[in-house]
């Protein structure tokens, strides 16, 4: 994996003395650092050049809002009762289908330095929650970034994993397309951190997941985490429909179970390629070689483009049968799919309540 493209660091004065800032600056000593109250923002709309810049300019600052948010899910789709903590907005990886290209409103990769603030707020939220199965929080840090891509320079996992190890009613999910697990290996996690990988066949990684780790590297990293006693999860997401999908995804499943023991897997999700129509021109401009926007993607009720339903259902069914054939007991769920697709794939939808938990599967 090629390392980061980061070439400049901007730091808000209030964040200058924070532990995380010091750690980042000492990890990247060769880069110029600018102390600034307000990093330059474009007065106009964000352009594709700004998106490219956001991979190169790191902006370290303090966060002031509500740190724990329910996953936004999507209209008419079943949602998996997931919460997110955004410790960073922006990502050093550069996937062609990344929704950040459309959401992003600043030409920076923003990293929040006031970690104590996040932890205090999360603590208070977890303590106030009623106990019991339905109150269990599944919390992820990988909605607006890759959870581990910056870990070698931030060391955040060394704070988060021990923090969640103490929590009875919460599980942390670190979702990644990298192999950056070195910091995780010696930590006391008490089974409260799940390390998760997004998986795709190597041809898709090569064409559409720039700066990410190869499939083999991801699975080797998963093996290391398995040996360190972590619970694991895997996301076949986004699943891409292309000429060799059947053979290639089957190979991914085979390679996965050649290394990872099913009993160490907490869950596996499947989600077809989907994106808002506004992302399409950005993808076409930034990744003209990518075939992803050229698939048979049709507009769905929630406004997103997805593969035509019979295509999605056929892929999900195949993938599910390959997974079930090797790991019958592992919970498998669909990400952002409608109840009728669930029924086609699983024979039933998980619950009438559009919010279900992993235990409902």
């Amino acid at each position: 994996m090629e390392k980061y493209q980061i070439s400049e660091i901007y730091v808000e004065p209030s964040a200058m003395e924070r532990e995380l800032t010091r750690r980042v600056l000492s990890s990247l000593p060769e880069l110029p650092v600018y102390e600034t109250d307000e990093a330059r923002t474009s007065p106009y709309e964000i352009t594709t050049e700004d998106i490219a810049s956001s991979k190169k300019r790191l902006y370290i600052r303090d966060y002031k809002g509500e740190p724990l948010k329910p996953c936004p899910g999507t209209q008419g789709r079943l949602c998996c009762n997931y919460f997110i903590v955004n410790l960073a907005v922006g990502c050093p990886l550069d996937c062609s289908y990344c929704i950040l290209q459309h959401y992003i409103n600043s030409p920076y990769l923003t990293l929040y330095a006031n970690i104590d603030y996040f932890l205090e707020k999360i603590d208070a939220r977890l303590e106030a929650a009623p106990t019991g199965r339905s109150a269990a929080f599944r919390i992820g840090t990988g909605e607006l970034t890759d959870s581990l891509a910056l870990d070698p320079i931030t060391g955040l996992s060394q704070v988060l994993v021990p923090f969640f190890a103490e929590k009875e009613n919460a599980t942390l999910e670190l979702k990644t397309k990298t192999a950056e697990v070195t910091n995780l290996l010696g930590l006391e996690h008490r089974g409260k951190t799940v390390v998760a990988w997004s998986l795709n066949p190597q041809p898709i990684i090569d064409s559409d997941e720039a700066y990410s780790a190869s499939l083999r590297e991801r699975l080797e990293a998963a093996l290391l985490c398995q040996e360190a006693g972590y619970r694991l999860a895997f996301h076949f997401d986004p699943i891409v429909n292309y000429r060799n999908w059947e053979q290639d995804y089957l190979e991914v499943v085979e390679e996965l179970f050649a290394r990872v023991k099913p009993e160490n897997i907490s869950w596996i999700s499947m989600g077809g390629l989907r994106f808002s129509p506004d992302l399409k021109p950005i993808m076409r401009e930034r990744f003209p070689e990518s075939h992803l926007p050229l698939g048979e993607l049709i507009p769905c009720e929630d406004g997103k483009l997805r593969y035509f339903k019979p295509i999605r259902v056929a892929i999900y069914r195949s993938l599910l049968s390959w997974i079930r054939g090797r790991a019958p007991g592992v919970p498998v769920y669909l990400c952002m799919e409608s109840a009728d697709v669930w029924r086609h794939v699983f024979g039933r939808a998980p619950s009438c309540d559009p919010k279900f938990t992993i235990d409902d599967l």
Binding site: Y44, E45, D340
Partner: protein, 323 residues
């Protein structure tokens, strides 16, 4: 510093450097309405010209007026003559302001930005900050980029864009095609004259099919499907729909195959015209709606019986199985 003053006088058309199009913004240059009005009431607004170093007169604003005067056989035209020392940025500003009240079309706006940046050497930021609001546009680099891209339109396509009042989003998309692609596309568009939504959809489908197959747009529009449509006796709207369906089939082969399968299955149900089955768009949903039209309870009963009858048919089960 300007030392000479501007002067107002009648000038001979021979004094004008007619081939100097430095400040030409107007498109198209020939304005039939202006020609007619000029023949009735004469030229009401003088040309704005600047003296060149060789003492010939360079038009700052009034190209269309001059063309109309020449069409009407006039040899002298009133003009406001600016001195040699007037700098090009000011002259260009004058040219833009002089016609601002009539409003600029898409091609003219493109000409303004193109000249501003390439001839006057204004920066992109200056164009965005000073000229986009002046032209009533939301300032921003991507909009500026789209306007500038229109310079890549072929002359014929530029005229088609103008005459059909094509929106910028479509015109700039077409501007990304090479000349051969634009020529083939134009041959396809001219007889069909699609409205905005149809044009948008057909362009996207053609472009994406071409990209997926590694072809160019010209290859797509040269296919025999379109030749058959254009040679048919169908009406223009019918041809347009046929062309649209052909493009959709190329871009979405599975969706199209499923749709024609559903059509076949529905036909086999032999439903009377007062029963319509409505499937969710693109099969995204699990409910079919049956729409009944009737005027009496007897008619409703007959429709209900027909529905009961088709509910046992294999074809209907197959349709339900697709949801």
């Amino acid at each position: 510093m300007m030392t000479e003053q501007k002067e107002y006088r009648e000038i001979s058309v021979d004094e004008i450097a007619g081939d100097d199009e430095t400040f030409l913004i107007s498109y198209p240059r020939l304005d039939e309405g202006l020609c007619r009005s000029l023949s009735r009431v004469g030229l009401l607004n003088p040309l704005l010209v600047r003296k060149r170093r060789d003492d010939r007169l360079q038009i700052i604003s009034g190209f269309r007026r001059l063309t109309a005067c020449l069409e009407n056989g006039m040899e002298k035209v009133p003009a406001l003559i600016y001195p040699k020392g007037m700098d090009s940025l000011n002259a260009f500003g004058l040219a833009v302001h002089d016609n601002l009240s009539r409003g600029y079309n898409l091609v003219e706006k493109s000409n303004i930005f193109h000249k501003l940046i390439n001839l006057i050497h204004a920066s992109h930021d200056e164009a965005i900050r000073d000229y986009m609001p002046l032209l009533g546009l939301n300032p921003g680099p991507s909009l500026l980029h789209d306007y500038l891209s229109l310079q890549n339109l072929t002359e014929d396509m530029r005229y088609y864009v103008h005459e059909t009042d094509m929106p910028l989003s479509c015109a700039s998309r077409i501007a990304s095609f090479n000349d051969r692609e634009q020529d083939t596309l134009l041959e396809f568009l001219r007889p069909l004259r699609p409205g905005l939504n149809r044009l948008r959809e057909m362009l996207a489908n053609a472009e994406e099919t071409a990209a997926r197959e590694g072809n160019d747009i010209a290859d797509i529009f040269s296919r025999k499907e379109f030749k058959v449509i254009s040679d048919s006796d169908a009406s223009r709207p019918r041809k347009l729909e046929m062309a649209r369906a052909a493009l959709k089939k190329m871009r979405f082969p599975e969706v199209s195959a499923t749709e024609s399968n559903i059509n076949e299955l529905t036909k086999a149900l032999k439903l009377p015209p007062d029963i319509t089955l409505r499937l969710p768009p693109y099969l995204e949903g699990d409910t079919i709606r049956a729409e009944l039209s009737f005027k009496s309870t007897d008619a409703l009963r007959r429709l209900a019986e027909k529905l009961m009858e088709v509910s046992d048919l294999e074809e209907l089960k197959k349709i339900c199985g697709l949801l």
